[in-house]
């Protein structure tokens, strides 16, 4: 989830509000496509559909207002509203529960750990590795990095900058939807699910450092761990387990405190130029 956002933010320098909605769209499509194509089919088709949608959106909506970040942010906010309401109108507002594609589980530290979660973790790692390889080793990946570090210079060198923008947005959308499909069996699916993950995903990107994949990954892991561990760590002091909402608030506050010391993020460089 945060990976796709980082890609879009780092390269287009746009805060993408539609990202949560695209993530939700991935999950909803998984629910729709599951009976038709099975889990594997949905896993392949749904992110592709959303990725293509992302390409189209970038071309249709964001391209005309390129270079005006404030307007672009607002446009993505508008897209978020439109996608959410369209889903609400066409699929209803109820919560859907998807069955677990794999029923087997294995023992871990004395608990039964569902195998599906392991699969999700593996696939997430695979995506990270794939994205990294794409950015570091391929010609197009090199373009993306060039545009990210200096769009004007890249254009001057004859790189197809608009194409790269579109590609980054499409790929970011694809990753968001992939995350959506993967979590669909774990959480309940409804049209507002993107809302809850949007802001944490933003802070992950900012604290990790825009354009830094490793930073995103590290902060995402830390955020997840801290949220789970804090209630237990606080137990001796409070005399009772901490409420999950409070734990989340505290974790986010810690991340904000980090920004006080490194405003550009943990692994980000200071932006060059305006």
């Amino acid at each position: 989830m945060a990976l796709g956002l980082n890609l879009i933010y780092g390269i287009l320098r746009i805060v993408n509000f539609a990202h949560g909605a695209l993530y939700m769209l991935g999950a909803v499509l998984a629910w729709v496509l599951w009976p038709l194509l099975g889990f594997w089919g949905a896993l392949i088709v749904a992110p592709l559909l959303v990725g293509v949608l992302g390409l189209g959106v970038e071309w249709l909506v964001l391209r005309p207002i390129e270079g005006r970040p404030l307007l672009s942010i607002i446009a993505t906010f508008a897209l978020m509203l439109i996608i959410q309401q369209t889903v609400l109108l066409s699929f209803g507002g109820g919560q859907q529960q998807l069955s677990n594609p794999w029923s087997w589980s294995f023992p871990l530290f004395g608990l039964r750990y569902p195998g599906y979660r392991l699969f999700v973790a593996l696939l997430a790692m695979l995506s990270v590795a794939g994205l990294w390889l794409f950015l570091q080793r391929t010609q197009v990946g090199r373009w993306v990095r060039a545009v990210s570090s200096d769009g004007e210079l890249a254009a001057g060198l004859g790189l197809p900058v608009p194409l790269v923008y579109g590609l980054a947005f499409g790929l970011g959308s694809y990753l968001a939807a992939l995350a959506g499909v993967l979590v669909a069996p774990i959480v309940s699916v409804d049209y507002l699910m993107g809302f809850d993950v949007l802001i944490p995903a933003f802070i992950i990107v900012i604290v990790g450092g825009a354009g830094s994949l490793g930073g995103s990954l590290l902060v995402a892991l830390a955020l997840g761990e801290a949220e789970n561990l804090l209630p237990f760590l606080a137990q001796p002091f409070l005399g009772q387990p901490m409420q999950p909402t409070l734990a989340r608030a505290l974790t986010l506050a810690l991340l904000i405190a980090l920004l006080l010391f490194r405003p550009q993020g943990l692994f980000g460089r200071r932006p060059v130029g305006p």
Binding site: I74, A78, Q85
Partner: protein, 326 residues
């Protein structure tokens, strides 16, 4: 004379607004229906004041914040909780509400203005989320998302005693407070501080190179704008006598952004027009097709971003300027 002519539309509008309660009674909408329209108008005034405070931050200083609702909500909670649990008098409650939003704005501002670029947007949104989560976690006290109600029957001005249960008196209170705030903000934008803010919006590196303390200026405008959001919160608390954690969410700030943008950012009048228009549309859709309103909002926003980034007031001004050229 020229100045008077320039201000005439505003003065006429103000006079009209002041007599709306009488007008409603005249056209035969007394009693319940008239009271309903009046309360809708009052809500527009409250949210208009909130949007006004947002415009100072976004329209003049160019700071895209999603944390404005923090100070709005803090003020509301300051008023309701202090009079609910500690038995504060209305004026004491109002004072504590304003104080808490002021302190909140200073604390958030210290962190947020340091973060460069769009990090500001995200940091303010995240702090908004943190405050919201804390309010939810303290549900026993704050009522969480269900909210708490409070009863503040009247406000004593010495000679005058405003009954807050009378929709007309509530309306006049809201109108008066909005006009005062408008005048104050209008004055503020014409001071050297206001000019410096516009310079920061247009070209921050240049402002810095000219020796302006940009960080400090941004902090100051953040606190001022947060305090005005606090004033809007006081008004909300007095009139609706209700507080809920939902009022602290970043989506509330996003609404202010939308109203400001549609009306015309950086014009102060624009946000008021935008708020009134969109609140009215929301009401229309509410009775007829509630799910359609956000959809329409999205489409309107896309249109504004694509075709009219200067908003309604900006478009009117451009049209008038063109007509005068001819």
């Amino acid at each position: 004379m020229d100045k008077l002519r320039q201000r005439a539309p505003l003065l006429i509008a103000l006079a009209l607004l002041a007599f709306i309660p009488q007008l409603l009674a005249l056209v035969g909408l007394p009693g319940r229906q008239g009271a309903f329209w009046l309360s809708l108008l009052t809500q527009m005034l409250i949210w208009g004041l909130f949007a006004l405070s947002y415009d100072l931050l976004f329209g003049y200083a160019g700071l895209l914040s999603l944390g404005q609702a923090i100070f709005f909500g803090l003020a509301i909670y300051g008023v309701t909780l202090s009079s609910l649990y500690w038995g504060f008098s209305p004026w004491e409650a109002l004072g504590s509400g304003l104080l808490i939003s002021l302190v909140g704005a200073m604390l958030v501002g210290i962190v947020a203005v340091r973060v460069p670029g769009h990090g500001f947007l995200i940091v303010t949104a995240v702090i908004s989320l943190i405050v919201y989560l804390m309010a939810v976690a303290a549900s026993g006290w704050t009522g969480g998302t269900n909210g708490v109600t409070v009863t503040i029957p009247s406000l004593d001005f010495g000679l005058l005693r405003l009954s807050l249960f009378d929709p007309r008196q509530g309306y006049w209170l809201a109108l008066g407070l909005l006009m005062l705030s408008y005048a104050a903000l209008r004055w503020l934008t014409r001071t050297p501080l206001g000019r410096a803010l516009e310079l920061i919006r247009e070209n921050e590196p240049r402002a810095e190179a000219l020796g302006y303390p940009t960080l400090r200026l941004k902090f100051v405008v953040f606190v001022i704008s947060g305090s005005f959001a606090g004033v809007a919160g006081l008004l909300y608390a007095l009139i609706n006598q209700f507080a809920s954690a939902g009022l602290l969410q970043w989506t509330v700030s996003a609404n202010a952004l939308i109203w400001t943008l549609v009306g015309g950012a950086g014009t102060l009048v624009g946000p008021l027009i935008g708020t009134a228009l969109l609140k009215f549309l929301e009401y229309l859709f509410g009775g007829w097709w509630p799910q359609g309103y956000p959809l329409l909002l999205g489409l309107v926003l896309l249109l504004v971003a694509r075709a009219a980034p200067q908003g309604i007031v900006g478009m009117l001004r451009a049209w008038r300027a063109q007509r005068e050229l001819r």
